[in-house]
């Protein structure tokens, strides 16, 4: 009996202690990271890898919740409205910046609804064409496209998708509008590219690296300043003579506005630790990307990125004149 009382007292003491400890005890329960896309996609995969590594560092489970819909803006809205207690986070890609222009009736204020934790990764893009495309270099492809503007088809995975953004950028870089063929998702778009039903597509390395390596599609350029380790034979857009095409699908981690600074700081540190995890780095490398560097995985870097990207994409989207609402 005495033992029981002692045990109860100890339990009570522990409970009281953790109450008193308050914020210092963060995180004291499961953290949920909202992915604004359905399970199985590239953003979901990136998030699950990072979430697992962050779990190890934070000592609490980090769960992934898929809240898909409306190009990711439904999930973003969910987090914008969530309690700013550090237990609901958002991992969203470049769509955070482009949706500010693509959706004219966004139910949250992109720049003022979130606290920034840090950049996670920036996935490079590749410019591809069907296997039997006659052009062999980027310059030839551009000439071919300009000469056959009314015939050349550019596939994309739907409005707001990486391939849609890249297609718009490509057309604005070569100064010629081509025939856009939208699909519902990357899968069917890639299938039609493999079957030669459409001519050109520009998409993330996460989706294209294996196809390029297998020679089922022709790769013309990567959109990074330097060539990629996984695709050493593919030149950069700058090498191929196209300027203004450098970009990637950057991913950032956010918390709702009003989350305490020390919690944001803790999460940012944890993200930096997770991005140095060997497993994360190895998996990212297989996808043709790499974890963001420590200076990038900070609130300041993410904030700067978001602001500059909103400014960059607004004119491109307005010029294309197609909105998603």
């Amino acid at each position: 009996m005495k033992k029981l009382i002692a045990a109860l007292a100890a339990a009570a003491a522990v409970t009281l202690y953790s109450f008193a400890a308050g914020a210092q005890a963060y995180p004291e329960r499961t953290i949920t990271v909202v992915v604004p896309f359905s399970a199985g996609g590239p953003t979901d995969t990136v998030t699950r890898l990072v979430a697992e590594a962050m779990s190890k560092d934070l000592g609490q489970q980090v769960l992934v919740e898929n809240v898909g819909g409306a190009g990711g803006t439904l999930g973003a809205k969910r987090v914008a409205d969530a309690e700013p207690d550090g237990y609901t986070l958002l991992l969203y890609h470049i769509g955070m910046a482009t949706s500010a222009t693509l959706y004219r009736n966004l139910p949250y204020d992109t720049l003022n609804a979130f606290e920034y934790i840090g950049l996670v990764t920036e996935v490079p893009m590749t410019i591809l064409a069907k296997k039997d495309m006659e052009a062999d270099t980027l310059a030839e492809l551009v000439d071919y496209a300009k000469a056959n503007a009314d015939k050349v088809t550019v596939a994309n995975a739907g409005i707001g998708a990486a391939s849609h953004l890249c297609g718009m950028l490509f057309m604005s870089a070569i100064g010629t509008p081509l025939v856009t063929v939208p699909y519902k998702g990357t899968g069917p778009a890639m299938t039609d590219l493999l079957g030669g039903q459409v001519d050109i597509m520009c998409d993330q390395t996460t989706n294209t690296t294996k196809q390029i390596q297998a020679g089922t599609v022709k790769a013309y350029a990567v959109t990074t300043p330097e060539r990629l380790d996984v695709l050493p034979d593919v030149p950069t857009t700058a090498e191929g003579g196209l300027t203004g095409m450098e970009f990637g699908i950057w991913h950032g981690l956010y918390a709702p506005k009003g989350t305490q600074a020390d919690i944001v700081d803790r999460l940012s540190k944890s993200l930096q630790v997770a991005l140095k995890d060997e497993n994360v780095a190895a998996r990212f490398a297989e996808l043709g990307t790499k974890p963001s560097s420590e200076p990038d995985a900070t609130p300041e870097a993410l904030k700067a990125k978001l602001e500059s990207e909103i400014a960059r994409w607004k004119p491109v989207i307005d010029a294309a004149g197609q909105y998603a609402d």
Binding site: G41, T45, T191, Q211, Q322, A324
Partner: protein, 502 residues
């Protein structure tokens, strides 16, 4: 020969005690979660996916996932048969005659036929995958927008056979389904359509929500009408196993269903969803007793279930040979592979032979375990039907709510359950059948998308549909089906066409 080396590599990978254990665990978990009402295969797999991440070895993890996949599929058919709740488009067809069999006390036979048909179809199509994956992929890549459009037209025309009452009402239900399928955002212009300004519907209505509403809720409400007469769903359950007569009647449908399903499953652009509908049409057409369809014809379960499973199996072909997912379930598989450090692509067979052939071998093992595990369980599932109905349906409502919500954490999907529940109930009361509506719902977006895409690619030239040989052939088939299905009906007096058989 190469194939035997490959298969033996596959089987030696898949049959280690360790991997067999994971396969069994996957099938068991998949069945147990998938059999919960309102939780379809996609939700089941998404829920169980994280468990497979815990397994360090990628091969074991994917073998377990394949087991979950088969278990979930079978679990979905079980709820379709027992309580008229299909978890995916293909089991909507199973629900038509399977549920009627259950109401006649033949749930055991229906479940057994579904299991046996699936196993046979699974075995045949597994060998098809092993033998012919690369050449079949080449055929699938010939399918462009024009071909898919023509294929969907074939499906649409065949849908009339789903009706066992008024043909004209069935047509109206198909058209309504097509329209409901268009709710959401137009992918070509980004314009929102028919969503009443609700952003949560901008990616369309959720299939599970619509199916749970028009099938499940409508059925629950019907059972609540005259409670004094019915308290349990079925008063007597006769024979758990198929009779000799059943066996005789199910052989041919299983063979035909397997062939149809295998062929359609290869097409990554939505061929597999037509498999079970097409099989039902064929069986009703060739049957000597077409009037039994819709009232518990065993052929109406055997054919579509075989087609469904064969299609599920061959839809792995685009995933394994191209690295491209054919449906949301396959997308989950790809996500799982990447997390395990395998990026699927065209070279996965040469780069990771043990994995590639191990998965193929485990497909067959998964099917085998499914039947070994589920035949004895049939007795248990059927017992569930003896639970008083007023105890069963609050449980169904609870699971449906969780299942529908968990797909996308979207509460508006739950509101659509209620809306489609009342709409489905009203239509059922007015003697309209829900299956054609669901077919229209899944075909709607595919039909429009491919039509418009074909026109964009051809620069506005509609002749593509007849100048491309595959597309022309399909349209010819559609015309033939139209003649075969409609002629006997048209020959009857027009009044009779309209009167329901009941």
């Amino acid at each position: 020969m190469d194939l035997f080396d490959n298969l033996s590599l596959g089987f030696s990978t898949a049959t280690t005690l360790f991997n067999l254990g994971f396969c069994l665990m996957g099938v068991l978990l998949g069945t147990l979660i998938g059999v919960l009402p309102g939780i379809g295969p996609t939700a089941t797999i998404a829920m169980l996916l994280p468990i497979t991440f815990q397994i360090g070895d990628p091969v074991s993890s994917l073998i377990m996932l394949a087991g979950i996949y088969y278990g979930a599929q079978y679990g979905g058919s079980t709820t379709a048969i027992l309580i008229n709740l299909p978890g995916e488009s293909s089991s909507a067809v199973t629900a038509i005659d399977g549920y009627q069999m259950a109401r006649k006390g033949r749930a055991g036979a229906a479940l057994a036929v579904a299991a046996i048909g699936s196993f046979f179809a699974g075995t045949v199509s597994t060998f098809l995958v092993a033998l012919l994956a690369p050449p079949l992929t080449a055929i699938a890549l010939q399918f462009g927008a024009a071909e898919y459009f023509s294929l969907m037209v074939v499906g649409l025309v065949s849908s009339v056979a789903l009706a066992h009452g008024s043909i004209i009402k069935a047509l109206a239900m198909v058209v309504l389904g097509l329209l409901l399928g268009l709710v959401g955002t137009d992918i070509y212009s980004g314009a929102p359509r028919f969503n009443l300004g609700i952003r949560e519907y901008s990616d369309g209505l959720n299939f599970v929500a619509v199916a749970v509403g028009v099938f499940g809720i409508a059925e629950i409400l019907r059972n609540l009408e005259d409670e004094h007469e019915r308290t349990v769903l079925i008063k007597s359950v006769t024979g758990l196993m198929p009779t000799r007569d059943d066996w005789r009647r199910m052989v041919a449908p299983i063979l035909r269903g397997t062939a149809l399903g295998s062929a359609l499953g290869i097409l990554p652009g939505g061929g597999a969803i037509l498999a079970s509908f097409a099989s039902y049409t064929v069986e009703k057409r060739v049957s000597k007793h077409p009037e039994e369809f819709g009232k518990g014809a065993i052929e109406g379960v055997a054919g579509p279930e075989s087609a469904n499973n064969a299609g599920a199996q061959t839809s792995f072909i685009p995933l394994l040979t191209l690295g491209i997912p054919a449906n949301p379930v396959m997308a989950l598989m790809i996500g799982a592979m990447i997390i395990q450090g395998i990026v699927p692509g065209p070279n996965v067979a040469t780069e990771q032979p043990a994995l590639f052939w191990g998965i193929i071998a485990s497909m067959w093992i998964g099917n085998l375990m499914l039947i070994v595990l589920n035949l004895p369980l049939i007795g248990l599932w059927v017992k569930l039907l003896t639970i008083p109905y007023y105890v069963l349906f609050p449980i169904i409502m609870g699971f449906c709510s969780i299942g529908v919500y968990s797909v996308n954490s979207n509460v508006y999907d739950l509101y659509s359950v209620a809306f489609f529940g009342i709409l489905g109930y009203a239509l059922v009361k007015l003697r309209c059948e829900p299956a054609p509506l669901l077919l229209g719902f899944v075909l709607g977006p595919l039909l429009e998308e491919n039509l418009r895409r074909a026109m964009i690619i051809s620069r506005g030239d509609p002749s593509v549909f007849v100048t491309r040989p595959i597309s022309a052939t399909l349209l010819f088939i559609a015309l033939a089906v139209l003649v075969v299905v409609f002629l006997p009906a048209v020959r009857k007096k027009r009044e009779e066409v309209f009167v329901e058989e009941s």
